[in-house]
């Protein structure tokens, strides 16, 4: 179906030649493990409408689980330090504002290269980790700037695309947009109207088209969960996006009224789990928007560990889409190192 669709629009040919190395070295190499089973990267499957139809989500039960899950798990002392460091290593440090400039993006990249001050790194004894964030996430206009600023660092550049954040410009233009900005990673938004209308085929075709255009670049599909609103919609959109070949599913643009919440995260991780169990393929998860505190980072990591397992605690399959969270984590780490909370002005900003 997807292929036909792509042919119809004539946009499958001529994939951008500037694509980066794929994240997994070979497509048939296992990238994750779930309950003892090795999982491959997602190649997508034909749209399965029966599966979408069978999706059931009970809102109050999900809310209860989200509420108790974070009360059931906690990490303390050095373990907490390790978890916070892990959160940093899974960050997509993001700036997506109307007032972004090249200089602003360079500052962000500098912070991405050195998320913690050297003094703190030394005190914690973690020099060997060579800690960096996973990626920097910017608008298309700043992709070149970010690429240059991050050269040789191993930090990836992600561009938001396809009419971000509304995703309502014409399909051909959105596809052209992907072609223009695709580098290593790309965050695309879906047409929410397809979900409200139950037009799963249209949604599938759209995401499949995006994926084809992306080539080997890493594609994160933003569902706009704050717009979709019902958890069942979130689950169904998650499945369609995964079937269409998403490498990651991502909660929100950060521009909706409500962004990443734990109930939404729980529904999406359960969808990822079921997709993995049914297909043997692993899809990553990225909560974004409204994540500001170190405590939240621990809660989300615990959610991943509980629902999906250790494979989803790595940047290959888990990212935080954040801008302010790092500052709070720095203060927590400083507390661990010195026993005192520092003022935020003591930590260099992006």
């Amino acid at each position: 179906m997807a292929v036909e669709h792509i042919k119809r629009y004539g946009i499958a040919e001529g994939l951008n030649s500037r694509t980066a190395e794929p994240l997994a070295s070979a497509a048939d190499t296992a990238i994750a493990e779930l309950s003892g089973r090795a999982l491959q990267p997602n190649r997508g499957i034909p749209l399965n409408l029966d599966w979408i139809d069978a999706v059931r989500v009970n809102t109050s039960a999900v809310e209860r689980r989200a509420q108790t899950l974070v009360a059931r798990r906690t990490v303390k002392k050095d373990w907490q330090v390790a978890w916070l460091l892990r959160a940093i290593s899974c960050m997509d440090l993001t700036t997506l504002s109307g007032d972004d400039t090249d200089e602003r993006v360079r500052r962000l990249c500098a912070k991405a290269r050195q998320p913690l001050q050297q003094e703190l790194v030394k005190r914690l004894g973690i020099e060997e980790l060579d800690l960096k964030v996973a990626a920097v996430c910017v608008y298309h206009a700043f992709v070149e700037t970010a690429l240059r600023a991050l050269e040789g660092s191993g930090i990836r550049v992600a561009a938001v695309s396809t009419g971000f954040p509304a995703g309502l410009s014409p399909l051909a233009e959105r596809v052209a947009e992907i072609r223009r900005s695709v580098e290593q990673e790309i965050d695309v938004v879906i047409t929410r109207a397809h979900v409200f209308g139950g037009r799963w085929q249209a949604l599938y075709d759209e995401v499949a088209t995006f994926k084809n255009t992306c080539g080997p670049a890493h594609m994160k599909v933003i569902l706009g969960t704050g717009d979709l609103l019902t958890l069942r919609n979130v689950a169904r959109a998650s499945f369609v996006a995964m079937m269409a070949g998403a490498d990651f599913i991502k909660t929100s643009t950060g521009k909706e009224a409500v962004n990443a919440t734990l109930p939404v995260g729980l529904v999406m991780t359960r969808a990822i789990r079921e997709y993995a169990q049914e297909t043997g393929m692993a899809v990553g998860f990225k909560p974004a928007g409204g994540l500001r505190t170190a405590k939240q980072s621990l809660e989300w990591l615990a959610l991943m560990k509980e629902e999906l397992g250790a494979s989803w605690l790595r940047a290959e399959l888990f990212r935080f889409g954040v801008s302010g969270m790092l500052a709070d984590i720095e203060r927590q780490l400083e507390y661990h190192a010195t026993g005192r909370y520092s003022a935020d002005y003591r930590h260099p900003i992006a």
């Binding site: 009970n58 906690t74 509980e306």
Partner: protein
């Protein structure tokens, strides 16, 4: 292990709750407690002391007085003497005492939670987030009823002196379920906590002292079954409220049958947990975790019989097994533990015996590969499949973390299996179809039916059973009737005579009391 190694392993690490405040409290009492009678600590008249221990370590926590008939008699006399002045207080004045208790429970919530966990073995998360907040909630709720009593229950009066016997699975919460409605309706109380878990009741006694509750209104007598028996048999007790096993409940009913004593029983259960094919399966699995692996399954309303529609049985059991492997078992004081210790060796042996019997009958036993702590009383979460309604594990209450799974074909069959039990305490129905859920829920013979949820409790909602799960309700408006009687009861001449005779004669005459 360095931070870098922890960064690689991403384990949770230990997160112990600080027990110092609770230990200091025990030490302040020199780890020895008498009975709490007439507002003061009294050494046992004749019974001596027995010890209570932490089931997760085996360490002795404190020595507690063994109550005998003499101690019970002293407590009943104190309660009888306190009754008049307590009832003379206005509803608002009684409410003030209940509010004060609720506030102090909140103030001491951390100490109470730790004490509960040490004495019982339940995870600190549960005592901290569920037990103790519900205790406070019960006292707040019933403080409100004390204020409203006269206008809401005209023509009703308190039973009088109430004997209450509570189990070890939710020690302080069961105390609250018993004492809060009794006090709010103007009764005075003699409470006997379970012998395995008396400590929080004793901490509660101290709270009564702290708020200057009138002497004798609450009396706590500790001890074993014989102490409870003395309380049940005491002639000057007007009502017995019991929560515990069906076996003991039956004995209590016999013992009180020929007396004037009012009785409420909250007993065992073998509650069905019904999952239809159109339910949110992942959420239903979490429901099971809250249903059968809550408090190590030592819950009277635990969803211990899993009934799943045939079409989803395989998928569901796979999900259940996956979920069981992520349950963390270990030191109950650790904040990231899901399953703590079993309360006592005798209970652990009972669980082992029943599971072995089930397996001998053909059940397939699955337990996650999680290692159990090397010391302490632990039993792993257990899933039994290939179970049939005839199996012993489908019939008998195990009171442990053991789930017996069976299948059904149609909603009608689900109802049939669910009701095919001597018990009738609780049930849980999972379906995303409102028609199926409500149609089935209405047909279940159970005191409480949860739809797409389980083990939700509130002080405003009555709880109790059908059949061998007992009778009487606790909580809500309906719960208050267990502690009230129509005023004319007390004055009806025939009843007065019967009551007088009952209190004088060793074997009271069997005379039907009209109006019950």
């Amino acid at each position: 292990m360095s931070i870098v190694e922890k960064f690689v392993s991403m384990e949770y690490g230990p997160a112990p709750e600080d027990p110092r405040e609770a230990l200091t409290w025990l030490d302040r009492h020199e780890r020895r407690f008498g009975h709490f009678i007439n507002g003061a600590w009294q050494p046992p008249v004749a019974g001596g002391y027995f010890s209570t221990a932490d089931p997760s370590t085996g360490e002795k926590l404190a020595a507690v007085a063994q109550g005998t008939a003499a101690d019970i008699d002293a407590a009943v006399r104190a309660a009888r003497a306190a009754l008049g002045p307590w009832q003379a207080l206005s509803g608002h004045a009684r409410a003030r005492h209940l509010y004060a208790i609720a506030r102090l429970v909140q103030k001491h919530s951390r100490r109470l939670a730790v004490l509960e966990t040490m004495d019982n073995g339940k995870p600190i998360r549960e005592s901290r987030d569920i037990d103790i907040p519900l205790v406070a909630r019960h006292f707040y709720h019933h403080a409100g009823w004390a204020q409203l009593l006269e206008q809401e229950f005209p023509g009703f009066v308190a039973c009088g002196v109430v004997g209450q016997i509570i189990p070890w699975n939710f020690p302080l919460l069961m105390l609250a379920w018993k004492i809060a409605p009794a006090l709010s309706t103007g009764n005075t109380v003699i409470l006997k906590p379970a012998e395995f878990t008396p400590l929080t009741a004793l901490a509660f006694a101290e709270i009564c002292q702290e708020i200057n509750l009138p002497r004798g209104v609450v009396n706590i007598v500790t001890g074993d079954g014989s102490t409870g028996e003395a309380l049940v048999k005491h002639a000057d007790v007007d009502k017995i409220a019991f929560t515990g096993s069906t076996e003991v409940g039956r004995a209590i009913r016999k013992a009180t049958a020929q007396s004037h004593k009012k009785l409420s029983l909250e007993l065992g259960g073998k509650s069905p947990f019904i999952i239809f094919e159109d339910s949110d399966l992942d959420s239903a699995v979490e429901g099971l975790v809250d249903g059968i692996w809550f408090n190590q399954g030592q819950v009277c309303c635990a969803g211990s019989r899993l009934l799943m529609q045939e079409s989803i049985a395989e998928k569901l059991t796979a999900k259940v097994r996956d979920r069981m492997t992520t349950l963390r078992i270990g030191a109950p004081l650790d904040k990231a533990i899901d399953i703590g210790a079993i309360v006592a060796r005798v209970q652990l042996e009972r669980i082992e015996r029943l599971v072995n019997q089930g397996v001998a009958e053909g059940a397939i036993c699955w337990q996650p590969p999680t290692a159990l702590p090397s010391r302490g009383l632990y039993y792993p979460p257990t899933l039994l499949t290939n179970v049939h309604p005839t199996s012993i594990v489908a019939q008998q209450e195990i009171f442990g973390p053991v789930l017996a799974a069976m299948t059904f074909r149609t909603p009608r069959e689900a109802v049939e299996f669910a009701n095919n039990t001597a018990y009738g305490l609780a049930a849980s129905v999972w379906s995303e179809s409102i028609n199926v859920a409500l149609h089935v829920a209405a047909q279940l013979k159970a005191g409480v039916v949860w739809v797409n949820s389980t083990n939700l409790f509130d002080a405003s909602c009555g709880f109790g059973g059908y059949r061998e799960s007992g009778y009487g309700r606790e909580g809500g408006r309906e719960g208050l009737f267990e502690y009230l009687e129509p005023a004319w009861f007390k004055h009806a001449p025939a009843l007065k005579r019967a009551a007088r005779r009952a209190s004088k004669m060793p074997t009271p005459p069997c005379r039907p009391l009209t109006g019950r």
